[in-house]
Each structure stands twice: as structure tokens, then as C-alpha cells.
Homo-oligomer: 265 residues x 2
């Protein structure tokens, strides 16, 4: 397979490349049209609380799939995949500290582990682009800017903390369409959580994001904020679980699901 | 308070009547415009699996709220309520067998119990009515007809079984609007799961529902089927938990949430 086919690979081909360590790079642009997901793997002892946290905070924590305890198979989203090998790069955290990056975590995935796949914004970004709404961080070839806010998530047991949001600036004329387009995808972040003054949600300096990169906001453009899938990982980290495994940033899991599977209308 | 005020009570007044055993009757029509929910209470040991089952089957099992283990407070949907007293009548099942009906289950709700509130069809029925689509079982003053289908739910651990659906017949001209109206409410059953021939989803005799009452289907009318909130209770019962508490049919929990809180657009 050649690089030029990157976008046209199907998910099985893409995961095969990844599993055999022939692709140890970010997954952006791979298997176009298929949903990519964030991974968080936690001990079973925390699974109910974490799932409850996601249930209570569906905008920042849209669950795509959850494995049975001990299973590595995301049976709803990619029944032929193995979550312990099919991501290009993993991060292993112990007690909240990053201790290791690996390309295979099958040795750590014992009968006690539960894998959570959480939606990412690629899905609605594709829908925005198809509706003629340009996306600045794609134009500037960098990561989306993300910010901690003063919007509290709803607690669940030990899991608590503020919502992280991503920001996309756009001309005023595009804002209404952006709300409509992303409202169609309530299970992958959905409608924006805020439009306008960053200070209203506790962001002091829009040019200094907490995660990702700063992007240009042009004269007359409005910043539009969506709940971000970084939220659940950031909050789980705060709880300092004995062990937690995540994907490395940008190295996502490619599911068999298509973007339109997540549209309600 | 007089009966004539029934529909205009706010949820706090209604639950106060119920808690003091001044209302031990079905809740239909009470506190109009506020969401009523099904209750299922299960031991903590089963909570992750049951929540996962609901997560994997959002159409029949739309979660409104879940309590922390041991807590009786539905903190998202009615933070001043007590789920062990604020329902007019409960049913207690042991190993899948109905053993008791009570008006208060506070003695059974130990630190091990987790309460699940699950959406019911009252929400989208109200939206249908407001869009001029008549509802036959309301016209005929009986319960909605419900059927076991051959549509499998997605398994989660021990929880497995077929989807239960409710049926509302309507003239062909109303079908498209009914799809649009209910699609706005993905978190309370959402769009229909089937329109047309009952046999396509394994229903042999439309005049012989498995639950509820039979309703008239007039010449030229089309049966429209929605996923039904009876599904998760029926499936949990099948697992025969040591103890399970539910509301008695029609005796629902009245939340502080309004129907429009559950509309995505």
C-alpha cells in the first residue's frame, strides 16, 4: 500500500498497518469518512463511576463504545479490532504520571481492564467543511486550540472537574449554520457550548490555549466553543488511577463507523 | 390542593403529595409538561453492566439519571427528591419474582443500591399531540400496546434479549411528521424503529400485544413502532437479580425536567 492511498484505506486495512507497526504516526486523514475515537482504559473498579461521569456529561464525553471487562474488542464499533494493538501509539499513566509510551499494550490489558472509546471532533469538523465552513486550525495546519473553562462538569463519585472546550473562529455569517450542522451530531459533542466572549466561560487569554495550538482570529470573526473529548481524560488523570492507558495525542483508534451513523437527522 | 389542580402542580408539590401517601395512584396527567420516568433499582454489583446495556441500547433504554451507589437522590433530574419515597407505588422483585408492592422502599435501599431513571414515551407523545398527530390509546383511554420483537438488543455482560416496542397507528399523511417530531428527542426513544408491516419485526398478531392494551387500527392507517422503556426492566428481570425494585406500572417518578430539555433542536 502506498501513502497516496492513505485516505482511501478502509478501517480494516488501516488497523492492519497499525497493528503490524507499519504505521506509528498520527492517524489524521486515514480512512476518510470513518469515525476516529479517543481511548481511555481504566481498572474495572473505576468503570461504573467513569461511565456514569460520561453519561452525566454527554457533550464533553460522548461514549462511542465500551468493552466488557477484560475484553479488548470494541464489539459495537469495530468487532474485528483489538484495542490493545490497533492504535499507533499508547501512553501509560500510573497514579496520574506518564510513565511510558508503547505501540502495544496487550501485556497490560488484564481481565481487570475496561476500554472506553470517546468521540472526537473530527466527525463534526467534516460536516462543517462539507457545509462550506472553513476550519482555521486545518488551514493553518496545526492542532485545534483547547481551553480549560469555568463550566463545571457534573460530578460522578471521584470524577469531577471543569469542562475543556475546543475553539473554532468563524465569520458571523457562518455561526447559525455551524450550530445547525453540529446539532445533528449530539453523540459526538453536538451543538456549541458557547459563542462569543471567551471571558464568559472563564478563558482569560484566547491566544494562550491550555492544550493544542493558538490560531489566528481575523477581524470580525467570532470564537465558537465546543465541548472537547480531552475533558474525560483530563478528569480521570486528576483521580490518579493506579493505572490508566490512553492513546498518544493524534494517534487515534479508527472505527468501522461512518460519520453519518452519528447523525440524528 | 384539589384534584382540579392536578395538571398544574409543580413537581415539588406533586412529589410532596406522593411522599405523604396522599396520592397512591397512577401519575398520568400530573405536573403537566414535566418529564416522568421509569425506575429500576439494582445492586451495585450489577450497575456497570446495566448502565453499559443502556449505553449500548439508547433507543429502548434512554437514561435520564443514575444515583451514586447508596444515594436516593436523583441529583440531575430532581435534586430535592428521594427516590425511595417519592413514587406512589413500588414493586419489589427477588430473583426475578414479584414479592411485594409498597409505597415506600427506604428500608430496602441500603448503601449497595443504585437507582436508574429511564425515559418514557410521555415526552414524545406530548410533542406528537402538539403537532396535531392524534394518539389512539389516549383517544381510547387505555394503555399503549407493547410487543416483544425479533430485534435483538446489544448484549452487555449478563444483560441480553429482544427489544420491546410500543405501537401508535396513524394515517399515512402523518407518518413523515411523526418521524421528524420524535427525531428531535433522541434521548427519550427518538425516531421510530419501524414503520409498516408488524411481521418484519417479528410481531405475529398486532391485535394481541404482549403488554398494555390492543387499540383500533383504522382502514388505511399505518402502524408506527418506537423502542419502549419496558425493555430494560424486562431484560433485567430475566437476569433474576437477588433484588430489584421498580415503579408499579403507571406510577412514575416526576422529575424537575421539562420536555423541551430533551430536544436536541
Amino acid at each position: 500500500m502506498t501513502l497516496s492511498k492513505l485516505t482511501t484505506w478502509n478501517p480494516i486495512e488501516a488497523r492492519d498497518m497499525i497493528r503490524n507497526n507499519n504505521w506509528v504516526k498520527p492517524t489524521s486523514g486515514m480512512a476518510n469518512g470513518y469515525i476516529q475515537a479517543n481511548l481511555a482504559v481504566l481498572p474495572k473498579e473505576m468503570a461504573f463511576e467513569f461511565l456514569l461521569f460520561c453519561q452525566r456529561n454527554p457533550k464533553p464525553c460522548p461514549i462511542i463504545d465500551v468493552t466488557e471487562p477484560g475484553s479488548r474488542i470494541p464489539s459495537l464499533s469495530a468487532p474485528l479490532a483489538d484495542l490493545s494493538t490497533d492504535i499507533p501509539k499508547y501512553r501509560v499513566y500510573r497514579h496520574g504520571q506518564l510513565v511510558e509510551e508503547k505501540t502495544d499494550v496487550s501485556d497490560l490489558w488484564d481481565e481487570n481492564m475496561v476500554g472506553f472509546l470517546i468521540g472526537c471532533s473530527f466527525t463534526f469538523e467534516d460536516a462543517l467543511l462539507q457545509n462550506g465552513i472553513p476550519i482555521r486550525h486545518i488551514e493553518e495546519n496545526c492542532n485545534v486550540p483547547m481551553y480549560k473553562t469555568n463550566i463545571p462538569c457534573v460530578n460522578a463519585g471521584r470524577f469531577e472537574g471543569p469542562m475543556v472546550v475546543s475553539m473554532r473562529p468563524m465569520p458571523e455569517k457562518d455561526v447559525i449554520r455551524a450550530v445547525q450542522v453540529t446539532s445533528r451530531f449530539p453523540s459526538v459533542h453536538g451543538a456549541p457550548v458557547h459563542i462569543g466572549d471567551p471571558k464568559s466561560i472563564g478563558i482569560q487569554n484566547i491566544n494562550n490555549p491550555d492544550f493544542g495550538d493558538s490560531v489566528t482570529i481575523k477581524e470580525g470573526e467570532v470564537p465558537v466553543f465546543w465541548a472537547c473529548g480531552v475533558t474525560p481524560q483530563a478528569i480521570a488523570m486528576h483521580v490518579k488511577p493506579e493505572i490508566m492507558i490512553t492513546h498518544a495525542p493524534g494517534h487515534m483508534f479508527i472505527t468501522d463507523l461512518k460519520n453519518e451513523d452519528f447523525s440524528v437527522i
